[in-house]
């Protein structure tokens, strides 16, 4: 049984290494995430962010500009998730005093 697991793990590792090697290299303008127009014909989001993040938000860190400005709804949801988790722990673990 151990040999089967080892073979499975080795196979998965080989698949992972193969997939990672198929990634586009850094800065490749032809990479799918950098295309100005997506395959469906709509404007590509990644291209817009790279071109306009600094000018729009005055923020050199593009990741921060996307996280907190373009996709701020998503970040608001994440904050609510953290808050809800905390409130749930607070309500469940707090000792009830009858």
């Amino acid at each position: 049984m151990k040999a089967v697991y080892a073979a499975l793990a080795a196979g998965l590792l080989a698949l992972l290494v193969y997939a990672v090697n198929q990634f586009p290299s850094r800065g490749d303008t032809a990479a799918p995430s950098h295309r100005p127009v997506s395959l469906a014909g709509t404007p590509g989001a990644g291209d817009y962010y790279i071109r306009n993040a600094l000018g729009d938000a005055n923020t050199p860190n593009m990741v921060t500009a996307i996280l907190a400005d373009y996709r701020s709804f998503d970040t608001l949801g994440e904050t609510f998730v953290v808050f809800t988790g905390g409130v749930a722990c607070w309500l469940l673990l707090r000792r009830r005093r009858p």
Partner: protein, 146 residues
């Protein structure tokens, strides 16, 4: 729960390390515009400094630094800072969380958006730091009551 340490080495080391962690947390938050970082990372670092004091010196001493009661309230305050920024942009005439319409006279649109990002990150940091501390406190308290 583990009893708080009486070893002077641990106590002194914590007193030396905790301010550094908090300073790095603020740096990570405010330098998030230029380098990797932001509200979540800074908040977790701030919470780590609170938890270090709680683990080393015990919950009672740690109340002097960050009271357990303040945790739940500050968590809500952090979320409200985030959502309030969105409401402020609506009052300024824009869409929800469209920082270009923050009601701040004398700023260009790009500067307002930069400031809006900072406001939001501060809210995230307050929420994350206090919520992690709340969860830790409640776990400790519930274990102690049994």
């Amino acid at each position: 729960m583990r009893s708080p340490s009486r070893s002077p080495i641990i106590v002194v080391a914590c007193r030396a390390i905790v301010p550094v962690i908090q300073l790095v947390a603020l740096y990570v938050l405010f330098h998030g515009h230029y380098s990797p970082g932001g509200g979540f990372q800074g908040g977790v670092l701030l919470a780590a400094s609170f938890l270090l004091i709680r683990m080393a010196l015990g919950l009672e001493v740690a109340q002097l630094q960050f009271p357990s009661r303040a945790g739940a309230i500050l968590g809500a305050v952090g979320v409200l800072v985030f959502a309030g920024t969105g409401i402020a942009t609506i009052l300024g005439g824009g869409n929800f969380l469209d920082y270009a319409h923050l009601p701040l006279p004398g700023f260009e649109a790009a500067a307002r958006r930069s400031l809006g990002i900072l406001l939001v990150e501060v809210g995230v940091m307050i929420a994350v730091a206090s919520i992690i501390t709340v969860i830790y406190d409640e776990l400790i308290q519930s274990e102690r009551d049994d």
